[in-house]
Symmetry: C2
């Protein structure tokens, strides 16, 4: 049994509890929290510890999965935690990956541990799709579309607007753009042409709906570059119809083969997920398995999804995998 | 530069010549043929040698790509060639993979070489799609669809019928079955429900067309379990409209996540290829790169696509890949 710990008990932490049920070679033994452990009610038999005693349970845990956020938690948590444990995080600030990698790599090597960063579906499975397709089709173009799915960051941005009680924002890929890409016509697409944004907003009583709608649609970075639709709904409707966290997307590479680039090719990888955190957690535990095995083999340092032979992710014997999945 | 050799100069051999043009870190230096080398005209500056002198050029070649067939060539060629070279083959007889693996593994370990088997798109990229999706969604079902594309084996089977001058057979996935699978309804599909077979046949003058059509449609293993359409066309039409070797397909896994299997997920990987041999060759050379690197690192034995960290396939620096593709 691989003994997992988690640091942070939110959507992703609960997702890890679920994912362990699908992976019989794993057990969740510890949950570290910044809250008072006595107040944190979890859905498994794991022990709940204060994050202040992160360094005290190294004999109990094989791999620690970091369930914090990329903006402020992981840049400090991952290099710190990897001093004591093999770790896996889902760091997703693409622009800061080189810096985060360097920090985790130094700490992991000093401690003799494995530190996986940027594991999940994007970055993660989508990154793998991009790398494999770039390798196979060096002459080509990459396209990534997200959705239809809930963007937590965009939903939060709407909630901060005066007069908004609650909100849910869906990122929606433009079907016509997808078809254009798949056709191999190699289009140059603007931000607006690739995705639309669909918002469901619960306004406070007496709020100025037109002002809210205008503030959403003109919000820089988040909405102003997109065709945005705002629907005002009741709190009941939001709870009934928009409680989930579905997501997904498409990674497409189109490219040329042949001595004179005479052949077109399209490689497409797509995900359709009822629950973003539940799926992300499944990816995290699979790479936790690899972290455990790689460290057992003597490897140390920072790793990404690019560094693992896929067989090391599997709770299956190599003979079986070759006979049944090759 | 990685110096490649190939054994066998047919569609796949010509494909390797093309693929090298897309991979500036590689050069094709030698072509081994069972024919008289003087009679083999190739499209590159490589030297042409008799396959009888396979053991004579070990200093010239880093990786040898085997371009023979799985039925009779590769089972003996790969274990023999790996005595002298790191090799890559595209062995695709799924049922005989364990035996082939064992033979190549023993020979490769004895020689201190790497022997990749079953590299291409199925087995190959489709196998990777199956493994990753099984790892991430252990609770689920696999579906593989092929086409629309030309099946060389089925085309050959038609050509062997009395009165047939030439033929081309397309395997076509049934769109309704694909949609049923994507919906997550987890259907049990028969052979007939998954694919249809579309045949273009050039008959000899005066041949009994009804008899040919009946013989095709009732041919066991190849056609009798499928809904098959037979179109008789002229030789000119066949050459004009059906000269290419397009192919492709879909690997789909649907599965459950959540503590009570309450969430549905669909992972889909698909390929659409104008030229099957040109694309297969691109995959072969990428794994040739990995074979070269793995052997340089001291690894030996038989390997499959499951055994390679994806970064080892890339003609890109790890820093670059992390910054741009993660």
């Amino acid at each position: 049994m691989i003994r997992l710990g988690i640091l942070g008990y939110g959507n992703l932490g609960r997702g890890i509890e679920w994912a362990v049920k699908h992976n019989p070679d794993m057990e969740l033994v510890a949950v570290f929290t910044r809250r008072d452990p006595a107040t944190v009610k979890i859905n498994s038999a794991a022990k709940v510890y204060s994050s202040a005693e992160l360094d005290k349970h190294t004999d109990e845990i094989d791999v620690l999965i970091l369930c914090g956020g990329s903006a402020t938690d992981l840049p400090t948590q991952t290099p710190e935690a990897v001093k004591y444990y093999n770790v896996v995080d889902s760091f997703d600030t693409h622009a800061k990956v080189p810096e985060h990698f360097a920090n985790v790599d130094a700490a992991a090597k000093a401690a003799g541990k494995i530190g996986f960063i940027s594991v999940g579906w994007d970055p993660g499975m989508f990154s793998l799709a991009r790398l494999y397709s770039n390798v196979i089709l060096p002459t080509g173009s990459d396209y990534t579309f997200w959705g239809k799915g809930v963007s937590q960051g965009h939903s939060d941005a709407i909630r901060r607007i005066k007069g908004v009680k609650d909100a849910r924002q869906y990122t929606v890929p433009v079907e016509a753009a997808l078809e254009q890409v798949r056709s191999g016509s190699n289009p140059e697409l603007t931000t607006r042409q690739k995705h639309t944004r669909l918002c469901y907003v619960v306004a406070e009583e007496g709020a100025d709906l037109a002002a809210i709608e205008n503030e959403i649609k003109t919000m820089p970075n988040y909405f102003s570059d997109y065709d945005t639709t705002v629907n005002f709904i009741s709190e009941e409707e939001l709870k009934r119809d928009h409680a989930g966290l579905p997501h997904g997307g498409f990674v497409i590479r189109t490219g040329k083969t042949g001595g004179d680039n005479q052949f077109n090719n399209t490689i497409e990888y797509s995900l359709k997920l009822d629950s973003n955190p539940a799926f992300t957690s499944q990816v995290l535990v699979a790479f936790a398995r690899a972290a455990y095995r790689m460290n057992k083999e003597g490897m140390t340092g920072c790793k990404t999804v690019f560094d693992v032979p896929p067989i090391m992710l599997a709770n299956m014997e190599p003979d079986y995998v070759r006979a049944h999945l090759l």
